[in-house]
Amino acid sequence: MAASEPHASTAGATGDDNHGRPQADHADTAKTLVQRIADLRAWLFLAALVLGFEAWARIDFGGTFILNPFNLQSIAIFAVAPLLLATGQTFVIISGGIDLSLGFIMGLAAVVAAHTINAFTPGLGMPLAVLLGFMIAVLVAAVPGTINGLLVSRLRVPPFIGTLGMFGVARGVAFLFAGGTTVPVQNSLFAAIGNGRLMGVPYIVIITAVFVLIMHYLLSQTRFGQHNYAIGANTQAARRAGIDIKSHLLRLYILSACCAGLAGVLYAARFNAGAAQAGEPLLLDSVAAVVIGGASLFGGSGTIIGTVAGAFVIAVIQYGLVFVNVEPFWQFISVGIVIIISVLIDQAQRRFSGGRQDE
């Protein structure tokens, strides 16, 4: 390649280009191996966990873990709420932010759904009351989401702080609405949605699967999703490209709050009651699911598919440890270890892709 050095600039550039291309491709192959592992890490974790619990169950008490349909159902139901929160969280984290208020927005929505359905069931009948309950709960959930979005986009409050404030506000409001207790629902249709099954698959799992699929489409196939990635990688670039950052962030936080709203409604349906603390333990699980799923907390990367795997990793750990009869405190330890390993893989990948071949 040194032969191209003395040439005039145009010819020299062609030489440089030939020089540069294989390097870029080389960087690509070096990267793809690490990146493939990194991209699939959540699925690898999931497979390892399932196999591990299966082996444990067989050796310990001659049973089966994953081939038992009851276990599959339970894990899926277990994963519903964390997965819905994590779906909204995925969008926010990709944009470079975080939404800490999701847990209590979920509780707020659960309480609002319970109250709304109780209020309308006598007058309007069960189906209409359930429909109104769904809609009003999600709309109410959108209110804190809107405030989050305005704080972050217009007033430039860091997402961590803005949504932390909203965490407190939503928590207080939810407990006030609930009168400090849980709100039982008097509507058997709502209970049927929460606990019924279609060919063995719980309704709430079907609803969640359809919703998550739509969110996957939104993130991977639309301008909204594309802009979300761009904003997470380089907000300046996105702004210069003419993307309306303020309106995008506003819609983003409303979207994540609506995900939490749906989670709250499904929670109320499943337990036939609304509780303000419904999502309290799930917030960190939602962040964990997104990180295990391959997103970077620095923004710019992540997928819904990865998050689904991440949510199932957590659900399998939590359910599996109960299944093999280990003290529940091991759940925290195991999930914590998986998060740390996941971030270490992310760092390793960053080191590989970060070494650009400028020379």
């Binding site: 600039s9 145009t10 020299g12 550039a13 062609t14 440089d16 280009d17 020089h19 540069g20 291309r21 390097q23 870029a24 491709d25 960087a27 690509d28 990267k31 489409y217 196939q221 639309t222 301008r223 594309q226 802009h227 990635y229 761009a230 997470g232 990688a233 380089n234 300046q236 670039a237 996105a238 210069r240 490209a241 003419g242 993307i243 710019g300 990367s301 892709s353 650009r356 071949q357 400028d358 020379e359």
Partner: protein
């Protein structure tokens, strides 16, 4: 040079920030296929001048003419719509998107999947990326790779490619070689030659006199907000330009 009408004309442009005269009574012109270098010390007014041209600032007085027509840009977007594209030092690329994704950022093409579902038209983006980059003599095979996989000069080419795809007539390049290694710098210089050959006008800001002399047709030196001098590259020397810059 004066036989062709200028693409861009700046007449008696001033920009004051309160009492500070960042730019005072500067005039310049860029013709098709011409590379004009802007030089000057830090704070000489180079950045203010390009920001006034590209719609970031409204001039206090004076006017900007595009192909003989007076324009008054309120936003950079308006300038871009008229074919004035600025390529910033930090490249303004989204590293996690493909070349196509960056070219189309903010105006992504859509298609209908299954006849009804609007989805991003990735094939169109990839094709445009391949074609546009080939025009800049940069042949990409991996159109699905994020631009973070490419080298500094290639990324500079992507930023330029975006401007070319959207048919920019005037490209303003702010220190395009500053962050690059030597072979990459040379690649950018050859990119500028390509743009010149395509009949576009280039305004090229640089501290590097060697680059300026390698690529420019004319050089305009600013000093403390006023035009200290304008020379044809063929008729000047490094020493003279440095003297103009420092006022010696």
């Amino acid at each position: 040079m004066s036989s062709v009408a200028p693409l861009l004309e700046v007449a008696n442009l001033s920009k004051h920030f309160g009492a500070v005269r960042a730019l005072h009574d500067v005039s310049m012109a860029v013709h098709p296929g011409e590379v004009v270098a802007l030089a000057g010390d830090n704070g000489a007014g180079k950045t203010t001048l390009i920001k006034a041209i590209s719609g970031v600032y409204r001039p206090t007085s004076g006017e900007v003419k595009l192909k003989g027509e007076t324009v008054d840009f309120g936003t950079p977007q308006e300038a871009r719509d008229k074919g004035i594209e600025t390529i910033y030092q930090d490249l303004a690329l989204a590293d996690n998107l493909t070349i196509g994704g960056n070219i189309f950022l903010g105006r992504e093409p859509m298609r209908r999947a299954f006849g009804f579902l609007p989805v991003l038209d990735r094939k169109k983006m990839a094709d445009a990326a391949r074609k546009t980059m080939a025009m800049l003599d940069f042949h990409v095979s991996r159109t699905e790779a994020p631009v973070s996989n490419f080298s500094g000069g290639q990324r500079q080419a992507v930023a330029i490619g975006r401007a070319v795809y959207w048919d920019a007539q005037i490209l303003i390049m702010d220190e395009p070689t500053a962050a690059l290694g030597v072979p990459e710098q040379r690649k950018v210089i050859s990119l500028i030659h390509q743009l010149k050959a395509q009949g576009r006008g280039v305004i090229f800001i640089s501290h590097n006199l060697q680059d300026i002399f390698a690529v420019s047709d004319r050089i305009i030196v600013l000093r403390r907000g006023v035009k200290a001098g304008e020379r044809k590259i063929s008729e000047t020397t490094h020493d003279e330009v440095v003297k103009l810059m420092v006022g010696g």
